[in-house]
Amino acid sequence: MRMARLRSVAIAAACWLSAIDVVAQDTAPPPELPAPPTDVEVKDRPSDNGQAVLISWMASADDAPEGSPRVLEYWIFRRELGQAEWGEKILDSPAGTTTKTDDQKIKVGTQYEYRIVAVGVNEGVSEPAELLGGVASIRQWFNVQKAWFGILLVLICGAVIYFIEAARGGKDLKVRKIAGLEAVDEAVGRATELGRSVLFINGIQDINDIQTIAGLTVLGNVARRAAEYDATLEVPTSRSLVMTTARETVQAAYLSAGRPDAYNENNIYYLTDEQFGFVASVTGRMVREKYAACFYMGAFYAESLILAETGNSIGAIQVAGTAMPSQLPFFVAACDYTLIGEEFFAASAYLSGEPHQMGSLKGQDFGKVVGAVLLLLGCGAATLASMANNNEAIANFAAYIRDSILGSKGLFP
């Protein structure tokens, strides 16, 4: 990393003014000039593709609310090493806040020189502070700030993969029961008894949302049950890509249940991408068709309560699963069973019927253990540091957990 530091270089004010194209009028008295900024520092912005340098300086002595003449802003100029002219200002920064900024309009590897002036009332420009000798940005190939994040990621993803492989290898993974999953069978069964249809809504997000994909897995399972019980399954979607994918999933489920003949493509249809247009149509259908069971599995927004309350008014069994925290209260209040956040993803593994999918749940648990350990260690150290009147060693340990392991200070701060 290159760094250079230079004193401010005084240049005759008159020649300076003409250089940046500010013409003082003959009639007005020349403005009083503020004191210049000092200590210009320019260095490469770390962990980037070399597209920027960080510029910082010490504020002008007049940069204070009671300063006279008041400094309004700083102007920054740049030239390539070896050029004579400074040209137009490239950046400006208001006075009184920060005395740093970054220049992002540079070519990687090129050497630049910088000049900063304080600007007062009537564009009175101070003497400049300069950084001469050249600074260049550097392209880094690995973002060292993220090293710890990478380690955590490898650990947790590694655990998921390890447990999936272990389950494939025949290891029996014990996973607790998830309340609400039995309700899936029960609901489909009841629809068959009543001779009414089942409604499945796969959220209102597009196919590239992970919740939509988790919902599709649940849909596959519901469809298999519906095929076995010979119940009609209806899937309105608000995205055409979800419609095409849901058709494949449901068709495959009917096939695996041995009832390919019962599959009807027209029961999986697109309405409109517009959120409330979609809801208006679905609630209308709910009241008319009087579904016996309603499933809401995926990403939901404000429509959650409209759907759940309408479903309730027609007396349907309702099972919901979503990872949208803001909608969980309504599903919890209005549905018979709700899969809360992480449980929803767990359910999609649970219902897939493939034991090795359960490995992912164990991997998630490992992640929670890692999180809880870091949390307890960090809180413990922070508390001790506070009790021991900021004992340096303990405070450093707490800071390392917070700012390096969980922050962006890298392995060796």
Partner: protein, 317 residues
């Protein structure tokens, strides 16, 4: 629903109808006035190159102003909007043909509307505009950066789009799985990093606080300390509730139960906050009906607000 209830509803609807009728018979309402403005574009030599009229909505009280006139299309629109609003609200009483009509209009119009938006904001500027920028600049997006060069990388999303639409063809629908796989893979990678960084690591980091909280004077702030402890206990117990490897029995069961309590308080808070938002939405809709359509924001409204201070003394009106 019994007969008495039906009679009660009938009375309510009749009162509403009489009120509307009275409004129509006596009041001025439900009109939109616009102000005309002439837009004139001058060519370089100063001559008029083009000119057209634009209209801006003005409040009804300014309807006598210079250049202000009644806008027939917007007045029709206002009535259509108001009637459709009532059609949707009618669903609260029960399904009916008015609601079904409104529902059909919103499904058809919104599906097409989003298609149009997609065409003018995505397909033209981002797809076509990147592949043949010179051509798009000649008609649709003249403001596009004049230095923009054709970016043939965008032939790839074009190809993917064609593969996707292949599904409409009678054979080879499976080809559409390729673009889908591309995007599902990309977003899975994208989301994995994004969520782990902002919602896992950053959230644990934010929870690391001392349980021993000092106040500015250097002493121990007992209530803040209790708050910090409660918060950390809450996070840990909720995490244990979500733990799948252990049955909820014994100590684990008890902690998980505590976790559920925290979750329930969270949901209660969410519910309370949301009530607030939903009522604001309804207020806004009713303001549309009352003020913009029925023009109830007239001197009569001031007379009533005097009465309000009788109903709620001391609260101000």
């Amino acid at each position: 629903m019994n007969n008495r209830a039906n009679a009660a509803w009938a009375i309510i609807f009749v009162i509403a109808a009489i009120f509307l009728g009275w409004r129509i018979a006596t009041g001025n309402f439900g009109r939109i006035y616009v102000e005309r403005q002439q837009v004139t574009v001058h060519a370089e030599d100063g001559s008029v190159a083009a000119s057209w009229e634009t209209h801006t909505k003005v409040p009804p009280r300014d309807h006598l102003g210079e250049g202000v006139s009644l806008s027939i299309p917007r007045t029709i629109g206002l009535w259509a909007g108001a009637i459709l609003t009532l059609c949707i609200f009618s669903f609260l009483y029960g399904d009916n043909p008015f609601y079904k009509t409104a529902e059909s209009i919103v499904v058809g119009a919104s599906a097409a509307y989003l298609m149009v938006i997609g065409f003018w904001t995505q397909i033209i500027p981002n797809l076509i505009g990147n592949i043949v920028p010179d051509w798009t600049r000649t008609w649709a997006t003249p403001g596009l950066d004049p230095e923009a060069k054709a970016d043939y990388v965008y032939l790839l999303p074009l190809l993917l789009s064609i593969m996707l639409l292949w599904r409409l063809a009678p054979v080879g629908g499976w080809i559409s799985r390729w673009p889908l796989a591309f995007f599902i893979g990309a977003t899975a990678g994208f989301r994995l990093i994004g969520f782990m960084e902002a919602d896992f690591v950053a959230q644990i980091r934010a929870t690391i606080i001392p349980i021993w909280v000092r106040n500015p004077a250097g002493g121990v702030d007992i209530w803040a300390s209790i708050g910090a402890l409660t918060m950390i206990v809450g996070v840990i117990s909720c995490l244990i509730y979500f733990f799948f490897s252990l049955e909820h029995k014994g100590l684990v069961g008890k902690t998980a139960r505590l976790g559920i309590w925290f979750l329930m308080i969270t949901f209660g808070a969410g519910f309370g906050y949301t009530v607030m938002g939903r009522i604001a939405l309804l207020s806004q809709r009713l303001e549309f009906l009352f003020y913009e359509w029925l023009w109830l924001d007239s001197p009569t409204a001031d007379a009533v607000s005097g009465a309000a201070s009788l109903i709620m003394p001391g609260l101000g009106a």
